[in-house]
């Protein structure tokens, strides 16, 4: 699923490792989600949304392919 994670992360000046640490997941997880190749679970999507103070829909783009 496409998402704005890379841009949002860049705005905060966080590396993938920084974001991974804040989410308590591996850096590989962050990379896989960012590239749109791995869809996070709903709880992880909510954690991301809370971290960026946004809604899930503002981060993830539903292109109808899921």
């Amino acid at each position: 699923m496409k998402n704005r994670l890379r841009v949002l992360r860049a705005e905060k000046n966080w590396s993938q490792a920084d974001l991974a640490q804040r989410l308590e997941v591996s850096r590989q997880s962050v990379n896989a989600i960012e590239t749109g190749k791995f869809d996070p679970s709903l709880p992880l999507a909510f954690r991301l949304a809370r971290l960026f103070d946004m809604t899930i829909e503002q981060i993830f783009i539903d292109d109808g392919s899921g």
Binding site: E24, V25, S26, Q28, S29, S41
Partner: protein
């Protein structure tokens, strides 16, 4: 598995190391018993079962690890890798069994002991992980 170890991965490593050590000790002990004490009857079955218990433990430890791992991406990679390993083992053992059935007359097929099946699964599981992970890069 991965450079950065999660807490669940560290526990998995420690438990697997313990079970693998138990397996090696059991194999050594059972081999010694069969060579020097020549057990008979029910003792043969019990002794053959002894190295199997750590194998069950290794599989159970993997199941516990999957339940404890909180990183869903790592969990997904491991589950897919285990499915690949299972597929490789099923395909290869079926192929080898068919070869043994159809080709003994031409003496093409080496008889492989069944305990290598678990080793094949472990090796396939290890090789599958980087390949599965590449799909997400």
């Amino acid at each position: 598995m991965y450079c950065t170890k999660t807490a669940a991965q560290r526990r998995y490593r420690a438990r697997t190391l313990f079970a693998t050590t138990a397996y090696l000790l059991a194999i050594w002990g059972v081999t010694w018993m069969f060579r020097h004490r020549h057990p008979q009857g029910a003792a043969v079955y019990l002794l053959a079962l002894a190295p199997e218990l750590p194998i069950f433990a290794i599989l159970a430890i993997f199941g516990i690890y999957l339940a404890e791992e909180t990183d869903e991406f790592i969990r997904a990679v491991l589950v897919q890798s285990s499915l690949w390993a299972t597929g490789v083992v099923l395909a290869f053992t079926t192929f080898w069994s068919l070869l043994q059935s159809y080709a003994p007359a031409i003496d093409l097929v080496v008889k492989v002991p069944m305990y290598w099946v678990f080793v094949l699964w472990c090796v396939s599981f290890g090789l599958a992980q980087p390949l599965v992970q590449r799909r997400y890069k």
